[in-house]
Amino acid sequence: MKKRRSLLLLTGIFFTAVIVVFFTNGVQGVEEVTSDSPLMRADVITIDALKSLGDLEQPPVVFLHDLHTDAVEKQNKDCSACHLSEENRQSPKFKRLKDTSRQQVMDIYHLDCMQCHREVLKAGEKAGPVEKCGECHQGQPKAVSDKELIVFDKSLHFRHTEAAKDKCETCHHQYDEVAKKLFHAKGKEGSCLYCHKQQTEENRISKRLASHLSCIQCHRETLATNKKMPQAKDQKAGPIKCSGCHAEQQLQLIKRIKDVPRMKRNQPDVVLIQAVMPDVKRPKTAPTILMSPVPFDHKSHEKYNDTCRVCHHADLNTCSSCHSVAGKKEGNYVRSEQAMHQLDSDRSCLGCHGSRQSKSSCAGCHASIPIESKQQTSYCVQCHNKQPQRSTANLKPEQLARMMLKSRTAMTDTYRDKDIPETITIKDLSNKYDPVYFPHRRIVRRLVTEIKNDKLAQYFHSQKGTICQACHHNSPATKKPPRCYSCHGKPFNEAELLRPGMKGAYHQQCFGCHQQMGIKKPDSLNCVECHKEQKK
């Protein structure tokens, strides 16, 4: 009996101990001590140069470039303190021109980095790590990159052309395969990104290397020249530090020219876009025209976009040079129809126009218009204008395009005030609220004001009643459009599955438009702003 009792006691103690340990586990804080969230910096470079020479044994090094640029500047040194030059070209690598062997590259980094740090420490300043591996090879990086990519838009380009005094050859070059040299082809300048891609290819450096080597070198040279000329002391050059181009705050500070003068690249003012099919058997004869041509105002479109690359995504040629009617290899077999009409692309005509509709001044109406890829003929004709009556056989395409563009009309206004009811009293549903006194005319006038400066809207809203179709939808554009109750009645009608009932229709239309346009007052959640509560 004695043996049994002691066993029971032991078991009891054991269980209690387990429960206590289980519940007090969290008290000790077994988790790692969480460090502060990493710093967000634009100058973070991850040094993993040894990756190309084998597997990495340590985590890549987190290197803050601007920090070092500042430190080097303090010592009155410049980039050559770390970057060697070859033939006047600076190597972006650290203290070497080429990656030779694993041991050599490692030694360069270890010895040179730490030596400099030791020297700085000796001078009594703060410096980087000198011996502990983990301080550079951070497993959990203490700084994380929040680099923004800078867009070299037309404003920046203009500032550069001014600084370079319109000498395009300063930056633009092309590569001669035969002579294996760079040369400047006048009149054929294009975007850097047409050739310099994401990765370095055989003979072609990546866009990252290209932009850093060319841009920063030029900026440095300009700064050096400015320093020598006392009168040009105030003249600034572009950034040479990472944050200058890549930190969000600095990007905001870059001066933007509002009305950039037109780039001088011999671009056309108007273009006649025609889908043609050449006669292979008789190449000398005029090709068959497949569809009414589209007169394209190239000059105006230049104003609407920040870069040429938005449309000219591969080179500064005509679209049809790569995108033929049936598609060809140069255009990745994208047919001209797709190139112009594809709705989800940001460089097709329809795609770009579609994305304009998501602006807040347009989205109030356009967000609720379903995306239909098949359009009615009346929609096609707005771009593919009929050729004018006069004999046009002898006209050059450009002249014809100009004529057709001139004959286009813009709808800037809608019906007269007396045709637009001032207020509409909506009392069909009241049982809890008073009727709504809907300020109809004011809203119509507001919509008209929103499209006052929008040429796109003014052209495509081809009729006076088009703007009414925002709310008076699914019906033709007329002076007397149907009332809401003509179509919206009791909800959940099996014959009209997608049609909301009257209450839902009113609220969905009103809430939807207000939300898309960013209208804060009236607030959807504050019912009495639109209809007062009924006094019982």
Partner: protein, 353 residues
């Protein structure tokens, strides 16, 4: 009685073999995919239209005669905390942060989804839950025993228990206004009250069609998934959202197997086990017992025979011995008599001489 190991293992094998023989039948109940009663009704909740005004909650409270809430329904600060259903709130609206595409906050409705094959009904052993033909899952408190298995079973954690009512607690959940509205041909309270028609009511098949058409027309606005179309075998309450459903607090890990299917094979085996195993095992036991009995009887009989035989032999021996003994006795008497006579004769002769 003590059972030998061999016997026990023998019984076990017999039972197991009989089980596997019937095993295939157990799945018969789950090979069909139940898509709902024909013309069953449902509700489609469209998250992109909901503005979080809580009018639906107020209507639910009103229609079901629930007690007034602690904070009024137009107090939208209630949405700052995540709530779940409770006996006084059959349906709650919760607020979630907006996403990259949608700057305004998002809302989601939580309440009974009226599954096509409800887990609650499947777990209830007193049949308190009924999946009605209209699609609503209703609850009968008169038969409920308060075991709360349904609360465990529901994958959406919906049935709530009246813990405060100690003697007559009931399970409370959304009934799709079955008794109060649907049987009268009216719309459920929340559906009727919503100002922006975020709830669409109708036949489940029609709702699926509406949902697909909305997704087709506004691909940028909706996620291409109708929640409830297949989740847990399908629910009557369907959801459309502009963001992934986990961002609005809805479980994405439920799978498409209806809840009853998880247990139907085990449950279907119960009648078989209860029916055949006792008979089988009792039969084996009876047979083996009888076998023992017969063996015993035979043994006794054999024993009896041998005993009788031995006894007969013994008797015979005894009687022979007795006979022999008596014969010898007679002989001895005769001899003695003869001797006596001779002796007497001798004496006589002697006297005569």
């Amino acid at each position: 009685m003590s059972v030998s190991r061999r016997k026990f293992l023998g019984w076990l094998t017999a039972a197991g073999l009989s089980g596997s023989a019937f095993g295939k039948v157990a799945h018969a109940a789950t090979t069909k995919h139940f898509e709902g009663h024909p013309d069953s009704l449902g509700v489609l909740y469209d998250n992109t239209k909901c503005i979080g005004c809580r009018t639906c909650e107020a209507a639910c409270n009103n229609v079901n005669d629930l007690p007034p809430p602690d904070r009024p329904f137009d107090d939208l600060s209630v949405l700052d905390n995540k709530r779940r259903t409770d006996p006084k709130k059959y349906m709650v609206i919760n607020k979630y942060a907006g996403s990259v595409n949608v700057k305004t906050p998002l809302f989601a409705r939580t309440g009974c989804n009226h599954c096509l094959e409800p887990a609650c009904a499947s777990s209830c052993f007193v049949r308190a839950y009924t999946k009605t033909e209209s699609g609503a899952v209703t609850y009968d408190s008169s038969v409920c025993v308060g075991c709360r298995y349904c609360m465990l079973a529901c994958p959406f954690n919906i049935p709530t228990f009246e813990y405060d009512a100690a003697f007559t607690p009931r399970i409370r959940k959304c009934t799709m206004c079955y008794d109060t509205r649907l049987v009268k041909g009216e719309l459920p309270g929340c559906v009727e009250a919503c100002p922006s028609e975020s709830f669409t009511f109708g036949k489940r098949t029609d709702l699926l069609r509406i949902a697909r058409e909305r997704i087709r027309r506004y691909p940028g606005r909706y996620l291409d998934h109708i929640y409830g179309e297949n989740e847990m075998g399908g629910t009557s309450w369907l959801y459309l959202s502009g963001v992934p459903f986990r961002k609005i607090g809805m479980r994405e890990d439920l799978g498409i197997t209806p809840a009853p299917q998880f247990t139907s094979s085990a449950l279907a085996a119960v009648p078989m086990v209860v029916g055949t195993w006792p008979l089988l095992l009792m039969g084996i036991y009876a047979m083996s017992k009888r076998k023992d009995k017969i063996a015993k009887e035979e043994k006794e009989q054999a024993l009896a025979e041998v005993t009788a035989q031995v006894k007969a032999e013994a008797d015979q021996k005894v009687s022979e011995a007795w006979k022999k003994a008596s014969q010898e006795k007679e002989k001895a008497i005769e001899a003695a008599v003869k001797q006596a006579l001779e002796a007497a004769a001798d004496v006589e002769t002697e006297e005569n001489s």
